[in-house]
């Protein structure tokens, strides 16, 4: 039983913490509210090697373990969750290419993705299909040496910067079961017929744009089929989900931790009835519950990450971590707002952003209700996890 970070993990965390404190926290509120793209922060993250977090070392990446990944996403999200989004779906795409790509695809993309010279995202969701990915309508038809792709993807984060953008399509729309006819295509940014049509208005999670993407008879070379074999798209997409859920869980922990931090300092400064409001028992109860839940969420997240690092299947664990941590983020941001009184509702304080950012984690990477179904499926198939 070990519940300690190793030396390298601790150094990584300290570095990201220092970076977030210096470069992200001081500018987050202003940039988020004015809708300024954090160009300088993205550049610094590239210099530090963060775009290569999930790229294997032989391709110039960090090949980081999942605990380290969780640390990075928690620390960044304590500063501004949107910043974590810059490397979130990018990292998933890198992992997809590293795990499933052909040798030529890995050679072509991974080094540049690791350095941040190329960036990526992941296009699964469509206007009429999110949770039910087998219901997507984007179709790719092979014509000689290329596919002709038509369909619409929506809610695609980082689409504007992605080159390539992995897109989930149906290469055989009539296949039964449907997933056996699904594939992922690596779509280059300059593909004829690929259009990023608009940035979607969002409650929070600002910083990275989230876009609608139209493929209007887009012409994609056949060699851009991920892994080179049709029909593997759904299983490829699902393979990254466990790590993806740890990523979202860690962001939840980060947002919740920040909400607690803000509440703890504010309630010790703010006075009412002649003393700091933190002296009131009702306030103390709320702070105690928040702190306990934040730490529980972190422990659950590290537990799921550790399972993945040990090579175990962690479908249930990662779903539990994501479900719990995102709900804690939602709750903690609300509690922190409550403890700030009227100032919690003010755009001059940090809490309102946390409150707007938290719901994304309840929805993204599988809605929490979908994850509940995943967890119960795990319980019924494998029993109740005990360690």
């Amino acid at each position: 039983m070990e519940l300690e970070l190793n030396e390298e993990q601790r150094q990584f965390r300290d570095l990201i913490r220092q970076f977030t404190n210096r470069e992200v926290r001081p500018v987050a509120r202003e940039m988020e509210q004015s809708g300024t793209y954090p160009t300088r922060i993205v550049e610094l993250m590239a210099e530090m090697g963060l775009f290569g977090l999930t790229v294997p070392t032989e391709f110039g990446g960090l090949g980081a373990d999942t605990i380290t990944l969780a640390l990075v996403f928690e620390e960044l999200s304590r500063g501004w969750m949107g910043i974590a989004g810059m490397i979130g779906s990018h990292g998933m795409a890198c992992k997809l290419i590293a795990q499933h790509g052909t040798e030529a695809q890995r050679d072509l993309y991974l080094r540049e993705l690791a350095s941040g010279r190329r960036r990526s995202g992941l296009a699964l969701t469509e206007p009429d299909a999110g949770s039910d990915l087998q219901g997507i309508k984007t179709v790719a038809r092979l014509q000689g040496d290329h596919y002709v792709v038509s369909g619409t993807k929506t809610w695609i984060t980082n689409a504007r910067h992605s080159d390539p953008l992995p897109v989930l399509v149906k290469t055989d729309p009539d296949a039964s079961p449907a997933h056996s006819g699904m594939s992922i295509l690596l779509v280059a940014a300059d593909t004829p017929g690929l259009l990023v049509t608009r940035d979607l208005g969002k409650l929070g999670y600002k910083g990275p744009e989230t876009c609608e993407v139209v493929l209007d008879d887009a012409v994609v070379p056949a060699e851009n089929l991920l892994g080179g074999i049709e029909g593997k798209g759904m299983s490829q997409a699902i393979s990254g989900l466990q790590t993806g859920r740890v990523n979202i869980a860690a962001r939840g922990v980060g947002v919740a931790h920040r909400a607690l931090e803000e509440a703890l300092s504010y309630t010790q400064e703010r006075e009412a009835f002649g003393r700091p409001v933190a002296d009131f028992q009702a306030v103390q109860m709320r702070l105690a519950d928040m702190a306990t839940k934040v730490q529980a969420a972190r422990s659950l997240t590290w537990w799921a990450a550790d399972r993945l690092d040990r090579g175990a299947d962690a479908a249930t664990e990662s779903a539990m971590a994501k479900l719990f941590a995102s709900e804690v983020a939602l709750e903690a941001s609300m509690e922190s707002m409550r403890l700030h009184g009227g100032y919690g509702y003010s755009t001059e304080f940090e809490v309102e952003r946390l409150y707007r950012d938290a719901p994304m984690m309840v929805i993204g990477e599988g809605t929490n209700d979908i994850l509940r179904t995943v967890i119960t499926k795990g319980l019924r198939n494998n029993g109740i996890p005990e360690s």
């Binding site: 030396e7 390298e8 150094q11 990584f12 570095l15 210099e47 530090m48 963060l50 960090l62």
Partner: protein, 260 residues
């Protein structure tokens, strides 16, 4: 070009621990980190080596308990290797004792074109070690550098003064102390952190450096700390009510202090 940088590993200023009433010095049995004052020297050294297009940066540090925490940070920034002097005999060393040890360790680090230090450490503040090292090694010393360039066998330094800066130069090798804040120390890259684990740290004792233990530590200290006292609390400032003439009161006050 090879540059040696002397770096101190100090208790984290965010959690500095306590003074030991017996020795009247800071307790150093906690985890130590790289003194921020030294991160500027490390950055300058890395830039100089980059500009020269070759060579390496070697760190030299004296610290208790084989501490390498701060060294790893500087290695992760890009330094190539380190010499660490750690020896129980060194406890209680004064500035001169420290300088004797560092001078020997610098020699052990190999041929250097330049030796960089901070002007003073953030925990001790004696501010005399750089000049003592130079004297012991028979090298020229330049203090308060805000920028450094090495051309041929000459080091050219902009030396910060109260009014601006002086242009000064010296033949290399020389000891140059760097003012805090004059460059922006880089963030270590993640790969740097991973690589730092396998960079060599040559840990040596006083005997390895050919120093007689009676010359250093409590035994060799020519300086004695007689008393330690808490710094005076800062007095509350004066509040000037602005009745429309507030600026005049502030101007008068500053004139009284003779700062304007």
């Amino acid at each position: 070009m090879n540059v040696v940088v002397c770096v101190k590993q100090i208790p984290d200023p965010a959690d500095p621990g306590a003074l030991d009433p017996n020795t009247k010095t800071l307790k150093r049995d906690v985890k130590l980190i790289l003194d921020e004052s030294d991160s500027y020297g490390v950055e300058m050294a890395l830039q100089l080596v980059d500009t020269a297009g070759g060579g390496e940066v070697t760190l030299v540090s004296m610290a208790p308990n084989s501490e390498v925490g701060g060294l790893r940070t500087a290695l992760a920034m890009g330094a190539a290797k380190a010499v660490l002097v750690s020896d129980e005999a060194l406890a209680g060393s004064d500035a001169l004792g420290t300088s004797k040890v560092l001078a020997k360790a610098i020699e052990r680090a190999g041929e250097a074109d330049l030796i960089i230090t901070a002007t003073e450490s953030s925990d001790g503040y004696t501010g005399t070690v750089p000049e003592q090292i130079a004297e012991l090694m028979g090298l020229p010393s330049i203090t308060f550098a805000k920028s450094i360039a090495v051309e041929g066998g000459t080091v050219k330094v902009q030396r910060q003064t109260e009014a601006g800066y002086d242009d000064v130069e010296a033949p290399t090798p020389a000891v140059v102390s760097v003012t805090a804040g004059v460059v922006e120390p880089r963030y270590p890259s993640f790969k740097g952190i991973m690589a730092a684990k396998s960079k060599p740290v040559d840990e040596v004792t006083v005997a390895d450096l050919g120093i007689d233990a009676s010359q250093v530590g409590w035994a060799g200290a020519g300086q004695e700390i007689l008393e330690i006292a808490a710094a005076e609390e800062r007095e509350a400032g004066t509040i000037v009510e602005d009745d429309g003439e507030g600026f005049q009161k502030i101007v008068d006050y500053l004139a009284e202090l003779k700062v304007i």
